[in-house]
């Protein structure tokens, strides 16, 4: 099993550890609920060094990344970040990722840990078909990463880490050298709160972690990262996005620009738009205390299965039992009454908006 540079810190601090995406990662320290509330109300820090990084550069980098990525990079200004997907020719999602644009000739991609090998192989395959003028550098081993998230994240960045982020707006980044190391910081995250992601070599990240701990910033595990992103309606690859779910079905059509120059998977999305969606990801509110987990059946009122849960929790912020589910599109209208099967029992559920919690981004 792979580990991050902070692994010795996590075990020494008594974190509950579990495998995730091929890494032995902290699930929680003080408790998922406590950590979740710290991020919603104050600030917390996550070790996200398991995430993968790929640099794509060269004379034709813009054209190549446009070809493999669903978002439009041509108009994007250098210094900006964009969220989107790499699609397969059938329109399914190879991975969802962030693309950092340094220039038309230099892009930095941040991919999911669980997909690193698959993504790198896919990018290489696409690059071979694309031809000259583009170089792929897989840099996952060179970068470690922290996410500092919550309404007090900006203050923490400045006061604890000495990084002034007041000039960064939502989804922008900057790079600078400090003590001979290269650092990249962006105003991005995966929690539905304001916050930052800091990419740097291991020794910088370890020193930053230690400084944050000394300052009393809440260490957070992947447990609350999942409950936080879920409340904000953000997808997790493997749950809401897979090789066989398209961005349109996932309700993420705004991140797949079918009107931009051709990209892999575009034709499949155009065809799917014309034919209409057969299934959709929706939000559900469940009556009763049972929690609908990934894979549990979703039924219509007559008891016929019409889909399944992708993620479900007892929402810590909202104190409700809610879930995201992929279901037959005919049942996707807001307010539709459905049922969820939890082990031997069924519970009534209602289709609601899947952005359960309105994010507090600093635009």
């Amino acid at each position: 099993m792979k580990t991050t540079c902070l692994h010795p810190r996590h075990t020494a601090q008594g974190a509950l550890m579990s495998p995730f995406g091929g890494f032995d990662m902290p699930i929680s320290y003080r408790g998922i609920e406590e950590e979740h509330r710290a991020v919603r109300g104050d600030v917390g820090v996550f070790d996200v060094s398991h995430m993968g990084e790929v640099r794509i550069h060269g004379e034709r980098a813009l054209d190549f990344v446009n070809r493999i990525f669903s978002g439009s990079l041509t108009e994007l200004e250098p210094g900006k970040v964009i969220y989107g997907m790499m699609l397969n020719p059938q329109g399914g999602v190879v991975d969802d990722l962030l693309v950092y644009k340094r220039s038309d000739r230099d892009f930095f991609l941040v991919i999911n840990a669980s997909n690193i090998d698959k993504d790198v192989a896919w990018i290489m395959e696409c690059a071979a078909a694309f031809g000259d003028g583009v170089t792929i550098d897989h840099q996952s081993d060179e970068w470690s990463e922290l996410a500092i998230q919550g309404p007090n994240a900006e203050k923490t960045m400045k006061e604890v880490l000495g990084i002034d982020c007041s000039d960064l707006t939502f989804y922008t980044f900057k790079e600078f050298d400090r003590d001979g190391h290269h650092l990249l910081v962006s105003r991005t995250g995966y929690t539905g709160e304001d916050g930052f992601e800091l990419y740097a070599p291991a020794e910088v990240i370890i020193a930053a972690w230690d400084a944050l701990m000394k300052a009393g910033v809440e260490p957070c595990g992947l447990g609350c990262r999942d409950t936080l992103r879920f409340e904000a309606g953000l997808p997790l690859y493997g749950d809401e996005l897979t090789d066989t779910i398209t961005p349109l079905e996932a309700g993420l059509g705004m991140f797949a620009k079918v009107d931009k120059p051709d990209f892999i998977g575009r034709d499949a999305l155009v065809a799917q738009k014309e034919q209409g969606l057969r299934r959709k990801i929706v939000g559900l509110e469940i009556d009763g205390r049972a929690i609908a987990r990934h894979g549990y059946p979703v039924l219509d009122e007559e008891g016929n299965q019409i889909g399944e849960i992708t993620t479900g929790y007892h929402s810590i912020t909202l104190d409700k039992n809610i879930a995201m589910a992929i279901i037959d599109a005919r049942f996707a209208a807001l307010g539709t009454r459905l049922q969820v099967q939890v082990r031997r029992k069924t519970f009534p559920a209602t289709v609601i908006k899947k952005r359960f919690y309105t994010p507090n981004y600093k635009k």
């Binding site: 929680s28 408790g31 998922i32 609920e33 929690i291 987990r293 929790y313 939890v342």
Partner: protein, 123 residues
């Protein structure tokens, strides 16, 4: 007398009644309990078989019965306040079972044997 299953359920025995719940060790490992899925009064449970589930924020875990018999009471306090399981798991039993197979107890772990098992699992 109290006995345990390797899956961390206990049975506290008073005459032919078993009070069944989860151990302190299991409650700590689970974290905050948010839901306890219990059978109904009158249901039969079988030694070694699943009778319900307990849910933390992160995951659902099946509950196994240490003994066979009929459920004569469920702990209704847990319906609205599942967190009682965290506060004192051995006082806040989940179901009360009238045993029909006293020999079941011979297959369970003593407190000493269970403590050894927990020590191993922690490392």
């Amino acid at each position: 007398m109290i006995y345990y299953l390797p899956t961390h359920e206990y049975a506290r025995i008073e005459d032919n009644i078993a009070y069944i719940g989860i151990s302190k060790f299991a409650a700590q490992q689970l974290g905050n309990v948010v839901y306890v899925d219990m059978p109904e009064e009158g249901d039969d449970v079988t030694a070694g078989e699943e009778f319900g589930a307990i849910e933390s924020v992160k995951a659902a875990s099946d509950l196994y019965s240490p003994v066979s018999g009929a459920v004569i009471e469920i702990n209704e306090h847990l319906i609205d306040n599942p967190r009682l399981v965290n506060e004192d798991p051995e006082a806040n039993w989940i179901i009360k079972v009238e045993m029909n197979e006293p020999a079941d107890l011979e297959k369970l772990l003593s407190p000493e044997a269970y403590a050894e098992l927990c020590a191993k699992e922690q490392h």
